[in-house]
Amino acid sequence: MKLTQLYNKKEFVITSEVGPVKGCVRPTDGTTPTCLGEATLLRDLVHAINVTDNQSAVMRLGSLAASVLLRQEKMEPIYQLTCRDRNRIALQSSLLNTYSFGIDNVLCLTGDHTSLGDHQTAKAVFDIDSVQLLKIAKGMNEGYDMMGNELTQPTDLCLGAVVNPNFEPLDLQLMKMEKKIEAGAEFFQTQAVYDPKRFETFVRKTEGFGVPIQYGIVIVKSPQMGKFMNANVSGITVPDWIIDEMGSVPKENREKKAIEITTRLVNEIGPMVQGVHFMPLGWSDVVVSVIKEIEAQGNKFALAACA
């Protein structure tokens, strides 16, 4: 199911993210890969689950294999595709593969640079950029590859993109966002934002853009993680009040605190846009608690059903 179908029905779209494992997922030893386990926790609570593509340039199971695994389990994956590791031939082939395996949603990204990952000596590809990838993907939906060659069967993928409301100057980021929309982006997921005012500024500036946006949030698990993100993750700022609040409780209460803070932010920022996207970095159970908490508070966000 394409995410656009939900947006067209004015649903508040809830998605979360899983990172494929560093290893294979061939079912030989009876264990459940963590990415599948996390996704299963969220099955009845979110509309779809993003599957990251060698996130942070760390080599792992591919997003296609993990997306297919989720699909086999009747969940709705959003296949993430970055420009870092594939040239234009491989990217287009990946789009054909993705649609052929029954996946309906693809999130097109530039990708973190290889120098940030665990294979720092790799050649970074970046043959094309995310705007160009969206335009190419749109063309493939229309039945042609980027060189104008006809496809025997076109793709029919819902195309997503990302935007960072934290970026300064914001207008430059929005200029790229507009290019993405022009190229074919049908929905956006934002980088993690913790400042409602900043997000509101972003929302006001994008009101006329005519595309649904999901508020993105990375769950901060500890004061150390907040500080680490500020020092090492470009494009995200965790404010002092979150670091302080997380630090004000003993370790055993941190998960509860994370649920409380995340719920508060989603309640405050979520209604400004058309959906929310959680990036739990392994804490999918916290996402479960946050969504249930929001529902218990009688918020308008209805529980979603994955697939």
Binding site: R84, L116, A124, V131, Q132, N164, G235
Partner: protein
Amino acid sequence: MIGTTQKPFEEILVVLEGFQKIAVVGCDGCAKVCMTGGSEQVAELADKLREQEKQVVMEATPERTCYVDKTHTKLDPYVDQLKEADAVIVMGCGGAVQITRQVTEELGLTIPVKTALESVGHMDTLVSGELAMEQCQECGECILNETGGICPVTKCAKGLLNGPCGGAENGKCEVDPERDCAWILIYNRMAALGEMDKLKRFMAPKDYSKMAKPRILKIKEKKVA
């Protein structure tokens, strides 16, 4: 210019193991500017080799070693010394090494030609004697007219053509916090020039066939083949 750095002397010694009589060739073009292979550095290397009991049979520094005529002009008078040499060590870029090899072959000699330097890119000198920066990839399809004279192909770590990724912070690149985000530089420059509209245009994927190796420049015909 072509930027160069010197290989560690220990590595050069390994390369020259088994060779006793050494010819040292430098380059008074780019390598001189980088202070890696000009006449001064040639003399320094020659001295260090002598300290290691090597016999230096000649030292010569063409004006530009990547230019075959200039290298012939400088090396031809040394043909007898080159005949005697067990190996030539070149303190120049990869091009200088290969032109030196060509020149020795054209002189009828078959001697190993080795390099003492690493070539590290097309560099522009920003501060004389201090700082050079890679600013051009020689992509064969220049877009500087559209980007305010700042090249995103080279100065953006990801070579993005349609604007920045989301990773810049405080105007700096996600890859290196010391490095300016190329797209913020371009944005500011285009704003100052009043050319922001140009920046909003979609930039098509580059034609990388124009960078297919090895390119040949047909100088008389003014074209690349």
